[in-house]
């Protein structure tokens, strides 16, 4: 192992390559593939690899070339949270998926609130607003959009829910207690108190699916003895573009893979300071022949704070950038649909948008 190291540093010194990483990229490749994080600004942001821009490069769209370069890696997945990498795609399309996840994947949410009795301190409209934001666990793919003229709602486009709570004094409370939990019954109205009233054939169709709020512990209102709530609600299908309550994701975001290039070997005390400039786990100090040398081990963990550029002696030794076509997506669902189903639905929405305009084009050509 000692001989191997000697050979490799001699080799590098002979050829004038001093960096402890891969050979630096040519200028053109860097403009095409990397976003550079400078001290005062970010450079090379826009996609420039269109056909004809770079002589010598064939950038025309080729589906086979795209399929060869494209990759998806699932990093982490549980019921509501999904982290995956999409590599080899352009920002325009990745952003389209993100925007669709936020605003155009439909869900069911409470839209109409019929207040038969509300003697609580929470105003009707405030309570209705809060009810609208409660995520409802019903598969939106099994429902239709409601007709705009339809006031009543049918079994295929509406879910009916009921909230009926009355607060009373607890007869068995201790004489001198002041704790509301002991003094009153039903003084906190939670989303778990919302019950499903099946309409039409919903009781048979959704026999095993428990339709109701996703979480039962969302506090909706507080009551005192004598106050009650008697509310019937209608849920309809909608998209986030219309109202944020219909958005199926807690949030969906992506970031580009950071890339940290050390332009020289950084040793000793400088290496320690360099390690502190980045998020933990990004830079590791390795013991090479008795000297402490810094090495980039996992640039993915970095949050790109550019702290290293604040230190005058370190800023010229490091090059910060991002890989332009490597997207680290993070999708967190509100619980209505699993996160991977949401991504699938988002891609289907984009396909249906394209198909819609293709049929419009065909129809227009006919005329």
């Amino acid at each position: 192992m000692f001989f191997e190291w000697e050979f490799s540093t001699l080799y590098r010194r002979k050829r004038g390559i001093t960096a402890k990483m891969a050979a630096p990229m040519s200028n053109v490749d860097e403009i095409r593939d990397r976003v550079i994080l400078g001290e005062f600004g970010v450079r090379n942001v826009h996609t420039t690899d269109y056909p004809g821009n770079y002589p010598g490069y064939d950038d025309t769209w080729d589906l086979e070339k795209f399929k060869k370069n494209f990759r998806i890696d699932i990093v982490n997945s549980d019921e509501n949270m999904l982290e995956f990498d999409m590599i080899g795609i352009d920002a325009a399309i990745a952003n389209a998926f993100r925007r669709i996840l936020l605003a155009e994947v439909p869900t069911m949410a409470i839209e109409k609130v019929f207040v038969y009795n509300n003697t609580s301190i929470i105003q009707d409209e405030i309570l209705a607003h809060r009810l609208g934001l409660v995520p409802i666990k019903a598969d939106p793919r099994l429902f239709e959009y409601r007709n705009p003229e339809d006031q009543e709602g049918t079994e295929i486009d509406t879910i009916q829910l009921q909230l009926k709570v009355k607060c009373t004094r607890n007869p068995r409370a201790p004489k001198d207690s002041s704790d509301p939990k002991e003094l009153y019954l039903n003084h906190m109205v939670y989303s778990g108190d919302i019950k499903w009233l099946p309409i039409g054939n919903q009781a048979d169709v959704f026999a095993d699916a428990k339709i109701g709020p996703v979480h039962g512990d969302i506090l909706l209102a507080q009551l005192r003895p004598g106050q009650e709530l008697d509310i019937v609600m209608h849920c309809v299908k909608g998209i986030g573009k219309d109202h944020a309550k219909f958005s199926p994701v807690a949030t969906a975001s992506y970031r580009l893979l950071p890339e940290i290039t050390l332009l020289q070997t950084i040793e000793g005390e400088q290496a320690e300071r360099l390690k502190r400039c980045f998020s933990p786990g990004v830079i590791e100090i390795q013991n090479v022949n008795g000297r402490k040398v810094a090495k980039v081990v996992n640039s993915r963990l970095d949050t790109c704070s550019r702290e290293v550029l604040r230190h005058d002696d370190l800023k010229s030794l490091v090059k910060l950038g991002r890989v332009r076509d490597h997207f680290i997506f993070s999708v967190e669902s509100t619980g209505i649909l699993p996160a991977d189903v949401l991504v699938t639905e988002a891609i289907n929405v984009l396909i249906s948008k394209c198909q819609k305009f293709l049929t419009e084009l065909d129809a227009a050509e006919m005329d």
Binding site: P51, G52, N95, L350, I351, C354, Q355, E360, A364
Partner: protein
């Protein structure tokens, strides 16, 4: 100019005096002799489809064999007003190619990309779940 002009976002479609004639709810074509310079008004759309479609059309294949000549001379979109949900999608072509050609091929390419992404994602999710199964 032998290279293609990249359409920047939010470029205003230049008013060339053409009269816009509505065909149906989603598309408006310019009147006039030149079928190659058309502004499509896409209703109920925004950056989601606008930017991705612009990218696919800009990358599209040239039908002419010559290296420097591309079908599409200009492609860009703009959102006329943030309160109105529509975009003006402008395509200008070279050599008298009808503007609906690159639009159609752009839509088809975008559909193919999405289908491939979908298949890859589903395959990887399945592989991930299979890997998790014996561990749990």
């Amino acid at each position: 100019m032998t290279h293609m002009i990249c359409g920047q976002q939010h470029i205003h479609a230049a008013s060339t005096g053409h009269v816009e004639r509505a065909i149906d709810a989603n598309m408006v074509r310019t009147d006039g002799a030149d079928e190659g310079c058309v502004t499509f008004v896409l209703h109920e759309e925004d950056h989601t489809l606008g930017n991705s479609l612009r990218y696919m059309i800009m990358k599209s294949l040239s039908r002419v064999v010559c290296f420097y000549s591309q079908d599409v001379e200009f492609c860009g979109y703009s959102i006329t007003h943030p309160s109105e949900s529509k975009i003006n999608f402008r395509i200008q072509t070279r050599d008298g190619v009808a503007a609906s050609e690159p639009l159609r091929s752009g839509l088809n390419n975008l559909t193919e990309v999405c289908k491939h992404v979908l298949h890859t994602f589903e395959a990887r999710m399945q592989a991930f779940r299979d890997k998790e199964e014996p561990m749990s």
